[in-house]
């Protein structure tokens, strides 16, 4: 990346992001391509490894950007605000602007509450941004002296006053929006997004939606107009990207509804096939915008995954939300259109599956206007029964500002509450609160999400080191019911942007009564992450279950699917028993017997002729919370990526370790305290003279083993290879379970 730029674009991660990276963003890439074509230096801030606020901010400022532009969604709003504020403090002359859907909808709120934001872009940004930077450039980037009036689609602050220009909707300004998007250079062909990133960023063939769904703001933001690329442009991008995708990577068409104009979609597919472009594709569309003939063409073009939005399988509800026909509360007809829509959903899903499109996904929304518990369950059961549907997104209705529903939602009994008086963070109350009682099928994305979160949580709780990156903590384990403001403020110094926060509550009552108010504190005090997972412990026979708030919601989850915590001694004999499953068990060394059991397991693996074959021929082992002390370097006290904090605000690196700091201390102080503890341990044990010095991790906290016994075990038995293999193979569980 060039180290001086007119404008840097920042797409901060959020709880739903792929890891905690700063990624490319297709929308900002379009703007960057436009700026570059007009002679400006513009680029995306990319960071693939986690980093703290201080590190990210310094890196951004080091580009000497005249403008820092943030792409803001509801999900990354908090982090965008946090970083923007910090940039302004450290570099007051940098002009801070927000764009993206959140800025388009909440620009008034942002301008009124974030004094460090100089401007908000409303709707499409290419023309507005170009005009903005052209005028600034003409004034040599003297912001206060630049005339920004009459730039359509801009809200801005000058002389401490807020000005709001008329909105800009590019398709309003052009009578024929067909192929209008070709006026903008390609983000790929102009080198803004590397083609090998295509499977992450996707491509656009068209923008906007002309449908009438009352809950959705896609159509609102596009003024119910569609603006397209030419087929030639789509093909040239696809052809270019296709040469750089690896293996089975999938390229997604990010259009709101790819086949909204079926003839155009068919033409694109035909040209892909004619040009023999080899690419695996996916898209979201509507079942009433495809037929068998188009599906054949899509299959031939390379589509491997299709998402057909459904929302409800009840005709009356489809009418109320305007999914097929303009919304009506009391239809006077027999709702033939909706009945045909549901029939066509079943028909096209079956046909797509039949011709070999392997991944068929749908989306369902519960809590829709006038919907009863029984009707919501009927929809879910219909999707659950349909063997042609592989997965579905189980969404809870949200009311977005600007949508038709946001005007008359109260008549349906919904109540909205803004957390911290911030309209970006809305808590909804549904009539009868039935959304929590609705059946959630195992096909739902919520099950996948819980499974994914549990796996990641198990990895964190077992303190297995993750990617090293720059200094900073990627994970916080908070063992407390209450979140304090001082704690959240401190996180800004020590926790990576979008790092994981696992909060362990004392019980179900505590999680139910406190998790909402705690979340509000994370927002209020500007947490560097809202990637928060809430768990509580519950006794269950010999073991303890680690349950999350989702465990209650996902009633179809059996007890064995939840995280179980127990001592290794308790399960050592069960490791040979095929009836006992350990996929989601965290085994800890809680007493001396547990340590002996762990050591004997490692010796058994180590004695095998080929330890790797031995382990892969066994069923998957549990996660081990204290395996690190038997490795050479796979420990949290080496990688320093996870901190455990208790309700006394004491800080530890290990479940059984000494206190190595407290909330409020700087990152350097905490690390220095740990270094000192490790050095004292080495001196006390005289590690420098030990024959195992180069192989031993020198665990400073070998509890429950006495120090002498730990040293003796390390000297007399080779545990390293077995422990490292077990940890390495844990990743198979991470990916496939």
């Amino acid at each position: 990346l060039q180290k001086t730029t007119d404008c840097i674009f920042i797409f901060t991660p959020g709880p739903e992001s792929r890891g905690n990276c700063f990624d490319y963003h297709l929308g900002s890439a379009y703007i960057i391509a436009c700026l570059k074509a007009n002679g400006f230096h513009a680029q995306q801030y990319i960071r693939n490894d986690p980093a703290r606020l201080e590190v990210c901010t310094r890196e951004i400022i080091n580009f000497n950007p005249k403008i820092a532009g943030f792409t803001v969604y509801d999900s990354n709003y908090n982090i965008s605000v946090l970083i923007a504020d910090q940039i302004k403090k450290l570099s007051p002359r940098t002009i801070i602007v927000f764009g993206g859907p959140c800025s388009s909808v909440h620009h008034d709120f942002i301008m009124n509450t974030c004094s460090f934001v100089d401007g908000c872009f409303i709707n499409e940004g290419e023309e507005t941004f170009l005009e903005f930077i052209t005028r600034l450039s003409a004034a040599n980037f003297r912001y206060e002296e630049t005339d920004l009036s009459s730039i359509a689609g801009l809200s801005y602050r000058q002389s401490n006053r807020i000005f709001r220009n008329p909105e800009n909707r590019i398709w309003r300004n052009h009578s024929d929006s067909r192929n209008f998007l070709d006026n903008f250079p390609s983000p790929y062909l102009s080198g803004v997004i590397p083609p090998e990133e295509g499977h992450n960023a996707g491509i656009l063939t068209a923008r906007g939606c002309n449908q009438n769904c009352v809950y959705c703001n896609c159509a609102v933001l596009s003024n119910r107009k569609i603006s397209t690329h030419s087929v030639e442009r789509v093909i040239s991008e696809l052809d270019f990207i296709s040469h750089f995708l690896k293996g089975n990577q999938i390229l997604t068409f990010q259009d709101d509804t790819f086949t909204l104009i079926p003839n155009r979609a068919a033409e694109i597919c035909k040209v892909i096939t004619d040009h023999r472009i080899k690419v695996r594709l996916s898209c979201i569309t509507r079942c009433d915008c495809v037929d068998e003939s188009l599906l054949d063409k899509m299959k031939e073009a390379g589509f491997v995954s299709l998402t057909f939005s459904l929302e409800s399988a009840i005709p009356k509800i489809l009418r109320k939300i305007g999914k097929v026909h303009v919304a009506e509360d009391f239809p006077s007809d027999s709702m033939e259109k909706e009945i045909r829509f549901i029939e066509s959903f079943n028909r096209v899903a079956a046909y797509a599956k039949k011709i070999g499109i392997n991944s068929i996904i749908t989306s369902v929304m519960v809590g829709l206007p006038g919907e009863s518990l029984s009707e919501a369950n009927q929809t879910i059961e219909a999707v659950d029964r349909n063997s042609n549907i592989d997965h579905y997104s189980h969404n809870f209705l949200k009311i977005f500002k600007g949508t038709p529903l946001s005007i008359d939602y109260e008549k349906y009994g919904y109540k909205l509450r803004y957390l911290n008086n911030n309209p970006v963070f809305v808590r909804m109350t549904y009539p009868e609160d039935f959304v929590r009682k609705v059946f959630i099928s195992p096909k739902s994305h919520l099950h996948s999400l819980k499974k994914d979160n549990d796996k990641s949580s198990l990895n964190i709780l077992s303190l297995i080191p993750q990617n090293k990156g720059v200094p900073g903590f990627s994970n916080i384990i908070l063992q407390a019911d209450h979140v304090q403001g001082e704690f959240v403020k401190w996180l800004k110094e020590i926790l990576d942007i979008n790092g994981t926060i696992i909060q362990l509550y004392s019980g179900e009552k505590a999680i139910n009564s406190l998790s909402d108010s705690n979340y509000e504190k994370f927002i209020k005090y500007s947490s560097p992450s809202l990637n928060i997972r809430n768990y509580y412990l519950e006794e269950s026979g010999d073991a303890r279950l680690l349950l999350s708030s989702e465990s209650v919601l996902l009633k179809s989850y059996s007890e064995s699917e939840n995280i179980k915590i127990c001592g290794i001694g308790q399960i050592r004999s069960g490791l040979e028993n095929p009836a006992v499953k350990f996929m989601k068990t965290l085994a800890r060394e809680e007493n001396h017997k547990d340590s002996v059991a762990a050591h004997s397991l490692l010796c058994e693996v180590g004695r095998a002729k080929n330890p790797f074959l031995f382990l892969t021929g066994k069923k998957a082992l549990p996660y081990f919370a204290n395996m690190c002390k038997w490795t050479r370097n796979l420990a949290n006290c080496v990688a320093r990526k996870t901190l455990i904090i208790n309700e006394k605000n004491e800080v530890r690196f290990c479940w059984y370790g000494s206190v190595t700091g407290s909330v409020g201390q700087s990152y350097k102080e905490i690390i220095s305290c740990l270094d000192s503890e490790i050095q004292k341990t080495k001196n006390r044990r005289d590690c420098a003279r030990c024959k195992e010095e180069s192989n031993c991790i020198k665990c400073p906290f070998p509890f429950p083993l006495p120090e002498a016994e730990y040293c003796e075990d390390k000297k007399t038995t080779d545990t390293i290879r077995a422990a490292e293999l077990i940890i390495g193979l844990d990743q198979i569980k991470q990916i496939f379970y």
């Binding site: 499977h199 990577q249 995954s305 996904i361 998957a620 293999l725 379970y737």
Partner: protein, 76 residues
């Protein structure tokens, strides 16, 4: 994820790979991990190499999962 993989707790590690990816790809993965071990990769290096091997052969399953998590309703 392929059918039947919700019962992974019953399977051995190599069977898990076979259930998820088919025996060909599972065999390739196991062979590549064995090669990494034979090359004496250790500790963090071995762990990272195993992850790279798994991603190389299992990318399709990971990609489909990511598509699923893109909820169509949500724009803001």
């Amino acid at each position: 994820m392929k059918e039947g993989t919700n019962q992974l707790g019953d399977l051995t590690v190599s069977e898990i790979l076979e259930a998820a990816l088919g025996s060909d790809r599972a065999g390739q993965i196991l062979q590549e991990i064995q090669n990494a071990i034979d090359q004496e990769l250790k500790g963090d290096d071995l762990k990272r190499r195993i992850y790279e091997i798994l991603c190389k052969f299992a990318v399709e399953d990971i990609e489909v999962y990511h598509i699923l998590l893109r909820a169509p309703q949500v724009v803001t």
